[in-house]
Symmetry: D2
Subunit: 355 residues, 4 copies
């Protein structure tokens, strides 16, 4: 349930409500919107619901106590109508601008990373991506450079001034990855690694949560709720294709997910056409599609010489293809943003908490 405070409720009144919730062994989450403050009550409420509602309604400063219709609370638009806007270094995600996360699938060497970064950072990318810990189907495949890769990524940040996003595969890696990276990525196979979700919920850096390749929209939002419930409101959702019967593409990019999420949640949504299609030549058209349906950004893999890549070469863009894609999506983004206004309540108004 959530508690709507009256416009102009005092800090003391807000704290009174929070205290009552804490005293019940539950957790209050505050969303201080422009007009009014809303406090979500989170935890196992069970049979106390009705009694608690009555007591909260009778508390000073409270206008209404409402049920949240979804199983996810903190990440729902019901609780938090304004878009979440995430600022990392000088970059912003979710404010109506177009985020472009680009870089190699794996950091293979200092040279390969810098060569790629030097290109994408000067041709439209806003965030540098690169894998240091790599989840590979086979234990005998290249597993990434690990901490060495993280160090190169940190150097790449210094070199470009741009934030770094990289994957964290396990709770034991959260601290070290958070030390080097600006945004932590949770991969598709870990969407329901609940221990990892909670661990990423306890750090002070934004998290990008990839959709599980067989995760429903509801499960994906519940996974985001895990992160939010642990205290981290800065979550980016990334649609990267789902597993279906079709084999012509590596996965099936579910572009319906973008408007659906914009309707259901206040979190920014980006699209990864590289993993979704698994084919270099399909990245541009699907990146265009993603931007056209209203995505806040795209994530793509770029490699100086894809044929030599240690992972995912088939789907990595050459520099030339990256430039073509950038030209296309920049043009499309300029035209479509206004078309989805009805789905994006208040794109430019970041909330105090949660944004």
């Amino acid at each position: 349930m959530f508690v709507v405070m009256r416009t102009g409720a005092s800090e003391a009144e807000v704290n009174g409500v929070k205290g009552l919730i804490l005293a019940e062994g539950l957790t209050p989450f505050e969303n201080a919107g422009e007009d009014r403050t809303v406090i979500a009550v989170v935890g196992e409420i069970g049979k106390r619901r009705e009694q608690l509602r009555v007591r909260l309604e009778a508390t000073a400063g409270v206008t209404a106590v409402t049920a949240i219709s979804k199983a996810y609370k903190l990440v729902s638009r019901e609780f938090h109508p304004e878009n979440t806007v995430i600022r990392v270094l000088d970059t912003v995600v979710g404010d109506g601008s177009l985020s472009v996360m680009a870089g190699p699938c794996s950091v293979e060497s200092r040279d390969q990373l810098f060569e790629t970064v030097d290109h994408v950072s000067t041709h439209g990318a806003t965030i540098i991506r690169g894998g240091a810990f790599k989840p590979r189907t086979s234990p005998y495949s290249f597993q990434g450079l690990g901490v060495e890769g993280l160090r190169y990524l940190a150097e790449a940040r210094q070199r470009t001034g741009m934030p770094i996003i990289t994957e964290v595969m396990d709770t034991s890696q959260v601290d070290i990855v958070a030390q080097y990276a600006d945004i932590l990525q949770i991969g598709t196979r870990n969407m329901q690694n609940f221990s990892l979700l909670l661990a990423c919920g306890r750090i002070g850096k934004p998290v990008m949560l990839k959709r599980g390749f067989s995760g429903t929209i509801d499960e994906w939002l519940m996974a985001a709720e895990y992160i939010a419930s642990a205290g981290n409101p800065n979550i980016i959702m990334c649609e990267r294709g789902i597993r279906t019967f079709e084999t012509a593409t590596r996965n099936t990019l579910d572009l319906s997910a973008v408007p659906l999420l914009h309707h259901l949640t206040h979190l920014p949504v980006v699209v990864d056409p590289s993993h979704a299609t698994g084919k270099r030549w399909l990245v541009k058209p699907l990146a265009i599609g993603g931007v056209a349906v209203g995505a806040d950004g795209v994530m793509v893999e770029v490699h100086p010489r894809p044929e030599e890549a240690l992972s995912d070469g088939e789907q990595s863009l050459t520099f030339d293809l990256f430039d073509q894609m950038m030209t296309a999506i920049t043009a499309v983004h300029g035209h479509v943003r206004d078309l989805h206004g009805d789905l994006l309540a208040s794109a430019s108004a970041p909330a105090k908490a949660g944004g």
Copy 2:
């Protein structure tokens, strides 16, 4: 295999090749391109392949004999590099313009049809859709008005001057539907109704082939090949969502299919966001997405009062929503067409056969 004639080959030479193929009990299909004529050899070639190749190569006017790498021949871009452009009444599909097929899911009455048609025909639609024979999951649901519905559709054509598309469910209906409609639609459940495909291949009107909700891209192209092999080159492919584990949408719209098809086939491709999403408010964003990835058109359901619709009311657009969608996709279409040039070899050059 297909036989490439030399530039400027005479009609006699072309006929010589065709005669040789016919004498083998196989069927020749001619594609007279701008530069040169190509003749596909279709049928069960089996073990004669090598011997036949040698004889064809030695025939007057022949430049080369090549294998087609796909199981589908006539609908492949390998055989027919130019886009197929389909003209129906005053409308053209596949020439780079944006086709908009709109109308009610079911023709429910003369009034309901005309009310809808009067709106969409004056607000951007280029083709009128409406179901007379309705495939329904339950035998106890409204099954459509049948021939009465076809008659109203023919009246709607007279009223608007626009072509009519409607579904044919069975071989026994092909003649009567072809008598009234301008384009015959094969529904998703009939994508592999091979008898119906062949029957639609023998008529002189264009056919729109919806993707089976569990049909792979390859199976879909093979289904189109059935129609083409029976003599009908005027086929429109319609992506309408595939069945996946996700239940937040009725089906999952596979927008990757659009660039994939443009790469693999010369046939025009439209997108149906109404059936794919099953939700009215998702039609506009996905229609935008479809146009953005390069679709030649969209098909949508419109109803004057969706809440009273006898079928698919949930996904039918109101007139107002139709207008909003039209504004959006018209704007996007103007901007994106050039962005996909690499996938669309020669959009403005209709072939003699096949176009």
Copy 3:
């Protein structure tokens, strides 16, 4: 809804109820069980429901009027608690015995058919299968011998005294197939070919309805309802695998469907492990599995020389493998039948109507 007559209701009373239903433009279906007669009311009842219920309850001989909770009526166990038992020539399906439908995928020649039939008919098969009209993905693949194949099948019946099952692909083939075959098969791609379902509902021979490879249990039962509502109660359900992401098998055999169907419907259920797995060596273990979960029979493909088969050679059993499978499933059938008693209310009591 359905109308429960009192025990010992007279024919006049039953006819009175039927007359009232017919007068409403609806159709009565009678199930004369051992204890009492039940009459289902089928058609678009709509808003008349409550009024009709009251009138029926007040009619002579009526004990109760009840709603059927499922969208399918005639095929539901609610309406018809006793198992449907189907007699064809000297064979019975659904009476607790084990039906084995065996024969070649395609009838390729008189010799090939007879060689196969001579083996399987003397080694445990109870019904002969063989395709005359073949649904093939490619228009250039062998399409079956057609009517010639039907004639050979009729000869095979004479030769063995066993009933013949073969596929009908289109409404236009129903008459000719029904003339030669004892059981008509509707293939997986035609599960929702509603015209074909209705046409098969109007003939006097049993129909085997294969599950669509992407058909849900509910859709499958609704498809059976089409056949039953057109007047044909003798329907056999055949689980043949569903399309999933897994590619190690051709499809995924859904053995849960067997107990589910036995719970939801009174119709017999057989399992086809040949099409489900697509691999010869998996046929025996999955046939065992099917019998173990309570299937009323299995359908398998057998070929004298699978490596020469014109279709589905990979999954065809050799004579030797067929014999091994027969030994195994006969043994298992003897042991498991009693274990599923709770799902099979009254396996040995065929109903008057519907059985």
Copy 4:
């Protein structure tokens, strides 16, 4: 690749081969079969393959050096033809006997666990299951008793003398779970949690690896390979249903996986019909099906009062239903084991390593 030693090769010869492999930075895995010893070479061999093969072939005691055709090596039957037989306390899994893992979904209290355990341990179960750390879709659902639950499980082992299996969700829990449990379970959502797989590969206790609900057979075997490559050969595979379009059951139990795995791997395979179906009344028929297709065991959820269960009550068996299932599967197991002999090379011959 793997190195086949001659029959009677000396320990010195075996060590010579191992030394050569280690010197290359690769890892040797020895399978000492009855006749001869085979050594798998594991790691990134890359371009050294041919050179290494020649050198190994020339080494004393070596009969042949062969490629393994699959991406998984150590878990393949090619490398290790004998079945892996796992002994835990007085129980054996994979030796042809029927393993029955039973207990509550979650350990909810000491009383609930003991009440359940007292029943199942005296009615046919061979291993006690119970969740202490629970992966839940919602962060607000009951998350299990944690270490307290582990302690109760250890008490249950003392009470019954039977081994305990419980889930480990994260690398950080491996040590504590391994301290209390006899078999560690990796859940469906963690099948590709590669860090957890490696951590479980480094402990000295058997691991049961559930199939990811969207994991292919190949990915599942590669996940097992992660565990084996880290040094733990004692792995049990558990089929628990895959995610498909069908919603009549919670998941679709893929019983084809059982014979497929028995063909591809030497590891034992059990089936979990509780999670697969999500419906109590379907557990018995599918447990029968699983045993019939050759599974080495079943895992089921049992609760004294399922309607009060804190998780998965819908699918939990009552004591009475558990007893009925036990009677059924015991009977079936006695009859079917011999029927699958061709898939189970040498069921009674545990290997020295790997078994």
